[in-house]
């Protein structure tokens, strides 16, 4: 574990998303964006526990995971801009990022759907004796879907080397987790025989440690408690909409996952990293801006 690496990754994600939010009103990003601002420590801590060859399956709220796992930033930005150079050639947008070379499987916008796929991927790697850990990352909303129970059951039954990471940001769109579950989420994996623990999802180091331990005894489950700072979809805040309050958010702002890491580095090191990252981001946005849109012939390619 390397705090500098953790900070660099978290800072980079935060800044990329802030920039996405900033340019959003220009309508250059014609794609729904689900930002992870406030939730960075989950992806960052998790990916610190993984090797480049390990594979993660994520969701439409996938910028953080994609970047933390080593997905190409330029190609992500080009994807958001709908460009031919995008990681999905402009056909996927923000919700369908992919970088298989970095172990980032494509993300999906149907809640819960990728989880059994991660189980199957892990099973296949085990069958082929490939030393790969597969991770399913999903929100608290996915815990409502029956396919989660089915997936947990199968993983437990077949001892599939898969790590389940539930990014519990307390809401599915505007619906609180307590309005959707009578009990603690960790009870569900346990019922199927999957060990589960809950961890402070604002603390990248805690997430890293929990995931490292869980990875060693996969199938296993880690719940990361975290908080989404922006609206469910889009660049703005939404504390005035009635479903939650800024007051509720304040303790989470105080435990800003990026700042928690920043505090552990000395200013000089930090600023060096930040400069690097800013340059990379500027370059990535430029790349996205300057890249061409796909030509009309692209409509029918990659169909089969």
């Amino acid at each position: 574990m390397d705090i500098r690496r953790l900070y660099r990754s978290a800072y980079r994600i935060r800044r990329v998303e802030e920039e996405v939010a900033r340019v959003y009103p220009t309508d250059k990003v014609k794609s729904p964006v689900h930002l992870s601002i406030g939730q960075e420590a989950v992806s960052v801590g998790l990916c610190e526990a993984l090797r480049p060859t390990d594979t993660v399956f994520g969701t439409y709220r996938g910028h953080a995971l994609y970047l933390a796992k080593g997905g190409d930033l330029k190609r992500m930005m080009a994807e958001l801009y709908g460009k031919a150079t995008g990681c999905s050639k402009g056909k996927g947008g923000s919700m369908h990022l992919v970088d298989t070379a970095a172990g980032m499987m494509g993300t999906s916008a149907i809640v819960g759907m990728a989880v059994p796929q991660a189980v199957g991927y892990a099973m296949a790697c085990a069958m082929r004796k490939r030393d790969v850990l597969t991770v399913a990352v999903f929100g608290d909303g996915a815990m409502d879907e029956g396919v989660l129970g089915e997936s947990l059951n199968f993983a437990a039954l077949k001892k599939v080397p898969v790590l389940f990471v539930c990014e519990n940001n307390l809401y599915a769109v505007h619906s609180r987790v307590e309005a959707r579950h009578a009990k603690d989420l960790c009870a569900i994996p346990r019922a199927y025989g999957i060990p589960a623990r809950s961890v402070d999802g604002s603390d990248a180091v805690a997430v890293y440690k929990a995931c490292r331990r869980a990875a060693a005894s996969a199938p296993s489950f880690v719940e990361c408690r975290t908080y989404r700072w922006r609206e469910h979809v889009g660049p703005n805040e939404d504390y005035d909409k009635g479903y939650r309050t800024r007051r509720e958010a304040r303790p989470w702002f105080k435990r800003d996952p990026v700042q928690l890491l920043a505090r552990r580095l000395d200013a000089g090191v930090r600023e060096g990293l930040e400069r690097e990252v800013e340059a990379e981001i500027a370059e990535a946005f430029r790349f996205a801006e300057e890249s061409p849109f796909p030509g009309p012939q692209e409509l029918l390619t990659d169909a089969y």
Partner: protein, 345 residues
């Protein structure tokens, strides 16, 4: 004086007036009681009718459809709302294996008065999994009714009819119709299932537009007029049962049929319309289907624009059918509901 409402307002009004009339009606679905109120279509209902009749549910489309069916079996009249039709793929077992079959398979012992509202997404990079128009899957299953009104007037009348119907109805809306304004009578009215509307009369060819494509067909008809062709424009409104007779009558006259659907063509509503017309007419007409390109919906705007039929491609195909000239590419702006639409969702 005509009273103008948007499609969204018409849907909302139908729900409200029916809920006020019949306490057995309730509305369930993700987000029906939040501040966005499913694009405004359920706005104020939770406030007026309370949380027992308007409630949010967990993300459990399969079980929630079963819950709705169970409630219908017990004599209530649920309206189950899905903000994207794509999510119905999780509910297919309950819809096709139970809602559609319960009455017949149990010898008429039960009814399932269920309405499933499903909104077709489009635009702003909704992409592969948030833009699907899957009505043909449901049209295939006997025991279900499927309607896809394209105007505020028909939205109100068909939603009221759907709620009053004793069989399961899938009520298909389209996001690009949400802000469309049109005359809507104040008092409640139910429109019949299985009746198409001849929206514009014409003699040279028949244009059938499903859901939002009806709007594009109307624009295509205007383009065709500039070339001296008069199109009869038909809105099927009800897809199952389908008013094949009205369409056939028109094609008997025009000898040319173009169907534009906001869905894929293979085994789609257009296939059904062409096939049922072919059976009725025994030849003597030319036909063409327009629909989505046979791929998943791409997100980037340049490809998305090519993915969907529009007034220009419809007019061009119709012109080719009528004249044999495949080269006419009319100029026309994009539909305002599409070009003016802004996300983020």
């Amino acid at each position: 004086m005509e009273r103008l409402l948007t499609y969204t307002e018409a849907v909302r009004e139908a729900l409200e007036v029916e809920m006020a009339r019949d306490p057995r009606i309730f509305v369930m679905g993700l987000g029906v009681d939040d501040f966005k109120a499913v694009n405004g279509t359920t706005a104020g209902l939770a406030q007026r009718f309370g949380p027992s009749r308007v409630f949010d549910v967990p993300l459990s489309e399969d079980a929630m459809t079963g819950v709705a069916i169970g409630a219908a079996l017990a004599g209530l009249r649920p309206v189950h709302v899905h903000i994207r039709m794509d999510f119905l793929l999780l509910a297919m077992n309950q819809l096709a294996n139970m809602a559609a079959k319960a009455r017949y398979m149990w010898g008429g012992s039960v009814s399932v008065p269920l309405v499933v509202r499903a909104i077709i997404g489009r635009g702003w990079g909704q992409g592969a999994q948030h833009s699907q128009a899957l009505h043909s899957l449901l049209m295939h299953i006997p025991g279900l009714r499927v309607v896809a009104p394209s105007t505020p007037h028909d939205a109100k009348g068909m939603l009221i009819a759907s709620i009053r119907e004793d069989n399961p109805v899938v009520f298909v809306e389209h996001r690009m119709l949400a802000d469309l304004k049109g005359p809507v009578p104040q008092k409640p009215y139910a429109l019949p299932f299985g009746r198409a509307t001849v929206v514009e009369e014409g003699g040279d060819l028949t244009l059938v537009g499903v859901s939002h494509m009806l709007q594009e067909c109307l624009r295509a008809a205007a383009l065709l007029r500039t070339k001296g062709l008069s199109a009869e424009v038909i809105d099927p409104v009800s897809l199952s049962p389908l008013d094949a007779e009205t369409i056939a009558r028109s094609v008997r006259k025009t000898k040319r049929l173009v169907v534009a659907d906001c869905a894929w063509t293979a085994c789609g509503a257009g296939s059904e319309i062409l096939a049922s017309t072919a059976e009725r007419l025994g030849g003597g007409f030319k036909a063409r289907r327009l629909g989505l390109a046979p791929v998943a919906c791409p997100t980037t705007r340049v490809l998305e624009d090519l993915f969907y039929p529009n007034s220009r491609t419809i007019a061009s195909a119709a012109y080719a059918l009528a004249t044999g000239d495949e080269s006419w590419r009319p100029e026309a702006g994009d539909a305002p509901e599409i070009s003016q639409f802004k996300g983020p969702c």
